[in-house]
């Protein structure tokens, strides 16, 4: 669509600009200010330059948290994306089953994140939870509160439980936009199930999938509440991800300077990844139009 060039459009955007600027720019400026000072209280503060940045960048606990975060985010993507596609392909295309599946699938998305943590906290316990009980019944010694591996797996399964539906719904939306004629043509050509998937369904899902990957990357990269409730970052530091680390530093120990420096680094990582994804999506969109 050809758009008219009109700078008066800025007036329509101003309310959004102000409301987001208040919530985003002022806090961001404050974070920058904090990150170069040693603050004891509002009156007693010293300029320390880039000391906090050096300290945070050289902090081995932060490196560990970052590596843990990257492994976690990659695992989430590698499990949820294929699984989401697979489930979306099994969804009925019409009838009462559509509405029923939609409601059931969307249910986990609407549960407050700390309640998701609570659900799995209960479900995974060997003494009062069905899941933990069944696993122990099979002869596996499972305890997410003590064994780091179990805790890790539990957080991962929880995330799959929580968010795979988002990918399913996105893919399903992509699939619904395929006209029936495509399938009939494929049938006449005697195309295999795989060929239908590879050449008809996958291309239609591509654009929504990119958005799905983007959303899942971002949200899993800043995951906080669910592991906080489930394991509190433990046992040890097995499930301490970046947000957890940051919140502990800022609210728990009140180390304003290092926490602010860390926030900025965290934000820069997100900004870079976000920009790369955004550019790729927009360029893909442009090619689609041509």
């Amino acid at each position: 669509m050809n758009k008219i060039t009109n700078n008066k459009a800025w007036f329509l955007v101003l309310p959004v600009f102000f409301i987001v600027a208040i919530s985003a720019i002022i806090p961001l400026m404050t974070v920058v200010n904090y990150s170069v000072q040693d603050i004891f209280d509002p009156q007693t503060r010293f300029f320390v330059g880039t000391e906090w940045f050096e300290q945070v960048l050289g902090d081995s606990r932060l490196h560990d948290a970052l590596i843990r975060q990257i492994i976690y985010t990659l695992s989430v993507l590698f499990i949820e994306i294929p699984m989401g596609i697979a489930v979306a392909l099994t969804l009925p295309r019409k009838g009462w089953g559509v509405s029923a599946s939609m409601v059931l699938l969307a249910l986990p998305l609407l549960i407050p994140w700390n309640v998701v943590g609570t659900i799995w906290q209960i479900f995974g316990r060997a003494d009062i939870g069905l899941g933990g009980y069944l696993i122990n019944l099979m002869g596996i010694d499972y305890n997410y509160a003590q064994n780091p591996m179990d805790a890790w797996v539990t957080v991962l399964v929880m995330d799959v439980w929580h968010w795979t539906s988002l990918i399913v719904l996105l893919c399903y939306a992509g699939l619904r936009s395929i006209p029936d004629a495509y399938y009939q043509a494929a049938k006449i050509d005697g195309a295999s199930r795989w060929a239908v998937f590879r050449f008809i369904q996958l291309p239609k899902m591509q654009s929504v999938l990119v958005i799905g990957v983007l959303l899942r990357f971002m949200d899993s990269f800043m995951i906080y509440t669910e592991p906080f409730v489930l394991t509190g970052g433990g046992p040890g530091n097995a499930t301490t991800f970046l947000s957890q680390f940051l919140t502990r530093m800022a609210v728990g120990q009140f180390d304003l300077g290092p926490a602010a420096a860390f926030s900025l680094i965290y934000f820069l990582i997100i900004l870079l990844v976000c920009w790369v994804f955004y550019t790729v999506v927009m360029n893909a969109g442009k090619q689609g139009e041509q």
């Binding site: 669509m1 060039t5 009109n6 008066k8 459009a9 329509l12 955007v13 309310p15 959004v16 600009f17 409301i19 987001v20 919530s23 985003a24 002022i26 806090p27 961001l28 404050t30 974070v31 697979a86 489930v87 392909l89 099994t90 969804l91 009838g95 599946s101 939609m102 409601v103 699938l105 969307a106 249910l107 609407l110 407050p112 994140w113 309640v115 609570t118 659900i119 799995w120 209960i122 009062i128 069905l130 899941g131 719904l169 996105l170 939306a173 619904r176 929504v208 958005i211 800043m222 906080y224 509440t225 409730v229 970046l242 940051l246 800022a250 926490a259 934000f267 997100i270 920009w275 955004y278």
Partner: protein, 267 residues
Amino acid sequence: MQFQKRHIGLLLYILFLLLPIYWLFNMSIKTNTEILGAMTLFPDNPTLANYATILTDPAWYTGYINSMIYVGINVVISLVVALPAAYAFSRFNFTGDKHLFFWLLTNRMAPPAVFLLPFFQLYSSVGLFDTHIAVALAHCLFNVPLAVWILEGFMSGIPKEIDETAYVDGYSFPRFFATIFLPLIRSGIGVTAFFCFMFSWVELLLARTLTSVEAKPIAATMTRTVSASGLDWGVLAAAGVLTIVPGALVIWFVRNYIAKGFAMGRV
């Protein structure tokens, strides 16, 4: 809908989704002795005592009311400011439009943990700490960009000839927007409201940090009660079930639009 082999996979997946929720519900209608005593798939003596505790104790039910209030305010603010902005993005080119759009989106992607401390300081300094409006405004940080993004997708699907015809017919912009344009994208507005509701309802970190007593959300009430009394699993489960109910109701209302919303609105 006839049953096919592929539906087995779907059923297994839905079972996987529902089992933990069922278990929460199951625990919420048990007594604490039964929860800790034996592993039972169905409660021996179903009881509503846990729900009664929540619905009669102000410490519990005000949490629900607080959450509802700030989520409601947030949805209204998000929609009101996002509608004109989305229209501007979908119809006009203006200086810095693409960068502005990207900047809005980065706020959707920024980890709330980064903004935690400054938010606390900001709202304390203007005297909004522990009010509903503070949480609603804080949630605007990620909900307004999301709303603009979704609505822009819907609005781009409306042919521009409609705008032009209306202007030729002598409609002013506000009148055209309210009487012609808004009805055309009402499913988009519904979907947007759904997502704003969803992300405001499920967020805890900011909501908990910006409140202490007066506007404390239900989610925070739950975490605090766990640390205080520790073992009242039945009440905790009942509170959890009650937080799922509003979400389930909202999904039910928009069930036919969800798929369409995802496709058009590029959520």
